[in-house]
Amino acid sequence: MNAATDVRQRSIRQRLFGANTLWIGLVLLVLIAVFGAIRPDAVLTTFTLQTTLVETSVLLVLSVGMTYVIITSGIDLSVGSVLVFSGVTSAMTMNALNDGNATTAGWGTVFVGLLVALVSGAAWGLLNGVLIAKTGIPPLIVTLGSFGAALGAGQLISNGSNVSGVPNVLSNSLGTGTWFGIPNLVLLAAVVTAIGALVLATTRFGRYTYAIGSNEEAARRVGIGVTGHLVKVYLLAGTLAGLAGFMALAYFRVASITGHDTDNLNAIAGVVLGGTSLFGGSGSVVGTVLGVFIPAVLRKGFVIVGVNVYWQPVAVAIVLVAAVWFDQSRRRARNQR
């Protein structure tokens, strides 16, 4: 044995401490501990946990798709608008199937509504993906376009107003129902996240996503279908935005036109806080979960502790900039070798 002795694997401990995810997780734990220490009676309750989880579910689903996109070194600004568009088309289709008001409609209507939401989201995702992968227009510009276009289209279809008439069976089950104390909305988000995490970490699809973000030219030269893969990644992000639109519909009992203007930025912030690099090539869905909950915990904590809630975006901004700075200096240190 000569050179072979040089090939060895890192220990679990080394790997753990090298991972961004661990540090993000610690930040989250510290936040919860601090708020818990100040108001143990209000913070560490089932109710607080449930509401925080429910309020974050929709954003989490958006962020799972965003994680894939950002790992390919892309960006998707359109997810919030696609969410609105999908909610509107879904709600209007359900109403149209039931003489203008679907409140008392049955499961058949709900199923059609889900399908319309998913297809609406997928259509925007496909448009994004094809434009980005085939024309070479930067993702920032393409999705800035669809950010405006999807919202405008939603407003055109709904005449600029919210769409109500959501079936009760939907809002009572997916919207506010629970399963052994766990809100159904949270369960759905958890299943989507788990599948997203597994596909990214263990499959060929996930490996190609990393490879394209790490070095697109290298991926192309080894015969990976880069164009097709990018289309699929944006298609996935769009479809998940459609699903998120359906979830929001179920929860709020209305397809809301407003209130999603910054969903895209919140999703991006969650993904980046979770250790996924904006330069592409590295990141994880597990990190995204932690990253999405940092702003959520800050908001909830500030409300409970009585800090003016307008401090929340300021605090998130500081953590976000620090996280990206950390990532950049890490890359610079690495690439100097």
Partner: protein, 253 residues
């Protein structure tokens, strides 16, 4: 002489108004190291791109193993057993060496998990460790991102990747450019070993002593055309430089 493994004739390639190849020819035989040399802009990289499927020549013929072929993509070249080490490496810096070795050729787990494209990372890592050991590539670790390795180690992985997958012919565009003395020797050892297995190795290099030390034949490109061919044993650095600069030319090339 035996039938050549690869025989390219009169390749022409334009980039807009720039004529990168003006009827270039190139020959490689199985079981030999051919050095392809030429001054900057002589068309070496373009020629290799045309012969490895990365670019398509505007005209000319490529014969592989006696049959005329076209190479519409790198994948087409690879399916013939032709691999390339590119000058700019083309590795994914965020993936580990094993993942880079298997990039685009990932192994999936047997059974139902494999149908979903679940990777067999353990098996890939095991085989990669074996391949690196066989080729004498020394790495501190097989599971750190390749970007965290030194330039030489990155290059070794890129070389290993092409050699492991090639069965007939390997193009190496400046494979030793970024390497230290020890690693340069290792790569050249690998080149010889691959040749001894019966493959053809095409080595592009600016380093004349290295060219003479490792190759069996030398072909010289100048201004997009083959201007000279030498047996490495019968030539000198002066002769090679003369051919590259145009001071010396052979009629029959």
């Amino acid at each position: 002489m035996a039938q050549p493994l690869l025989d390219a004739r009169n390749l022409v390639k334009h980039y807009g108004s720039v004529e990168a190849l003006r009827g270039a020819s190139f020959t490689a035989h199985a079981g030999e190291v051919v050095a392809l040399i030429g001054d900057n802009g002589a068309g070496k990289s373009t020629l290799v791109k045309c012969l490895s499927g990365a670019e398509q020549p505007d005209s000319g013929t490529i014969t592989f193993d006696g049959t005329e072929i076209s190479l519409p993509s790198p994948t087409a070249a690879r399916s013939l057993g032709i691999e390339t080490v590119y000058q700019d490496l083309a590795v994914a810096p965020d993936l580990d060496p094993a993942a880079n070795l298997y990039l685009g050729r990932e192994l999936v787990k047997p059974g139902p998990l494999g149908w979903f494209g679940v990777l067999d990372k353990k098996e890939m890592r095991r085989r990669a460790t074996e391949s690196f050991r066989d080729l004498g590539v020394s790495l501190q670790s097989v599971d750190v991102p390749i970007g965290a390795l030194s330039g030489g180690q990155r290059q070794s992985v890129a070389v290993a990747r092409s050699v492991v997958w090639a069965s007939r012919l390997v193009f190496m565009d400046e494979p030793t450019a970024a390497l230290g003395v020890v690693q340069r020797e290792r790569v050249l050892d690998v080149v010889k070993r691959v040749r001894d297995q019966g493959m053809a190795v095409v080595l592009i290099s600016h380093n004349m002593p290295e060219v003479l030390a490792v190759s069996d034949r030398v072909e010289v490109l100048r201004l997009g055309r083959r201007v000279a061919r030498f047996r490495a044993a019968d030539t000198t650095v002066e002769e090679l430089v003369g051919a590259m600069t145009g001071a010396l030319s052979q009629e029959d090339s």
